[in-house]
C-alpha cells in the first residue's frame, strides 16, 4: 500500500465565462478527496464557482532547457499580432 498521498494540481474558475486557472497544488488520496481539499484550501474567500483537479503526474511540461528553441523564434514575428489594420476612429475598445 502506498503511504503517501499523491500530489494534485488545482484549477479554479472564478466566474462564468472565464477559464479555469491554475491556483496551486495539494495532497489527496483520490480525486474525490482532491476536490474536497481544493474546496477547503483554495475557495475559502469566494475565489471560485468550479474546480478541476488533475493528478500532477499526468501533466506533461515543456522543458526549461528547450525554452530558447520553443519560444524565442516568436520574438521577431510582429506580423502575427493583429496590429496592422487601419481602424475607423469611431471604433472603440478594440
Amino acid at each position: 500500500m502506498k503511504k503517501d498521498w499523491s500530489l494534485w494540481e488545482v484549477f479554479i474558475r472564478s466566474k462564468n465565462g472565464l477559464s479555469h486557472k491554475h491556483v496551486g497544488s495539494l495532497h489527496a488520496a483520490d480525486a474525490q478527496m482532491a476536490i474536497e481539499n481544493a474546496r477547503d484550501v483554495y475557495t475559502r474567500r469566494n475565489e471560485g464557482i468550479s474546480i478541476w483537479v488533475v493528478e500532477s503526474k499526468h501533466l506533461t511540461a515543456s522543458s526549461p532547457n528547450q525554452a530558447e528553441s520553443l519560444f524565442d523564434p516568436a520574438d521577431d514575428k510582429v506580423y502575427r499580432h493583429p496590429t496592422f489594420y487601419d481602424l475607423p476612429n469611431e471604433l472603440k475598445h478594440i
Binding site: L26, H27, A29, Q32, M33, E36, N37, D40, V41
Partner: protein, 252 residues
C-alpha cells in the same frame, strides 16, 4: 415557562451546540493530520462559530437584558449551557473527531432542513444560511467515516472504537423536553420525532458503507439540554472564557 423563555432556551441550545463544537474543532488548528485537513476542520469550526454568533445575537435580542453575544458566550457558567453532551467530548484522535462530527452532522442536517420552515422568520433565515454549511459538514464527515471505516485494519479499528465510545451520547440528540413542546406548538421548532427516521437511516447507511458495526442501544447519557454536563465542559469554558474573565470587556 413563557414563550419567550422557551424560545431563548431553544436558541441557546442551538447556539451552544455550535459554539462548543466549534471550540473543540478549533483545537485542531495547527495540529491536523495533514495540512489540507487542518484547514478543512478549522473551516468547519469557523462555520460553527459564525452560526453561534448569529444565534447568540438573536438570543440577546430575545432576552432583552442589555447583554450582547460575547457576554452570552463568555460570561455564562457550565450549568447555563444547553449544548448536548456529544459536542463537548474531547477530540482524542482523528477517528473520534470525525465520528463525533458525523453523529452531530447527521442530526444537525435534518434539524436544519426542517427549521427553515419555522414560523419565526429570523430563525428560519439563520437556518437557511446554516443549512448550506451543515450540508457540506455532513458530506465531509460521512466521506471520512467511509474512508477510515472501510480503510486499513488499523483505521477500521480506531473508527469502531470511536463509534462504540461515543454511541451513548447520541440518544440525547433526538430527546425532547418542555422547551421543544412549546416551540413545536408555536410552529417555531422542529419535532424531533419527525426527523428521527431520517437521522437513523443516515446513521445506518453510512455505518454500513463504512463496514462499521452499529452498537446495540444500551444506556444513553443525557443532561446537556437541561444544563447537566460532563466534566469536559468546565475545561472548555476555562480555556475559552479565561481572557474575557481576566480582562473584562477586552477587545481585539
Amino acid at each position: 415557562m413563557t414563550l419567550q423563555e422557551a424560545k431563548l432556551k431553544y436558541i441557546l441550545r442551538m447556539g451552544d451546540n455550535a459554539l462548543i463544537l466549534g471550540q473543540r474543532l478549533s483545537e485542531w488548528c495547527g495540529h491536523g493530520p495533514i495540512l489540507e485537513q487542518d484547514i478543512a476542520i478549522t473551516n468547519i469550526a469557523l462555520d460553527l462559530m459564525g452560526q453561534a454568533r448569529s444565534l447568540m445575537q438573536y438570543a440577546a435580542e430575545i432576552e432583552n437584558k442589555g447583554r450582547d453575544e460575547d457576554q452570552i458566550a463568555f460570561l455564562r457558567d457550565a450549568w447555563d449551557f444547553r449544548n448536548v453532551l456529544l459536542v463537548e467530548q474531547p477530540n482524542e484522535d482523528w477517528a473520534y473527531t470525525i465520528t463525533r462530527q458525523f453523529f452531530f452532522d447527521a442530526y444537525n442536517f435534518y434539524f436544519h432542513q426542517k427549521l427553515v420552515e419555522s414560523s419565526d422568520v429570523h430563525l428560519a433565515a439563520i437556518a437557511a444560511k446554516s443549512l448550506k454549511e451543515v450540508t457540506y459538514h455532513l458530506r465531509y464527515s460521512s466521506e471520512w467515516m467511509i474512508r477510515l471505516g472501510d480503510g486499513t485494519d488499523v483505521s477500521h479499528q480506531k473508527m469502531q472504537d470511536a463509534v462504540n465510545e461515543l454511541w451513548m451520547y447520541t440518544g440525547e440528540l433526538l430527546e425532547m423536553n418542555e422547551v421543544d413542546e412549546i416551540m413545536i406548538a408555536e410552529g417555531i421548532g422542529v419535532d424531533l420525532n419527525v426527523i428521527k427516521p431520517l437521522y437513523e437511516q443516515t446513521i445506518n447507511d453510512i455505518l454500513a458503507e463504512a463496514t462499521l458495526q452499529k452498537p446495540v442501544d444500551t444506556w444513553m447519557q443525557r443532561g446537556g439540554k437541561s444544563g447537566r454536563h460532563t466534566e469536559h465542559l468546565g475545561y472548555i469554558l476555562a480555556d475559552m472564557q479565561f481572557v474575557q474573565r481576566a480582562y473584562p470587556n477586552m477587545k481585539w
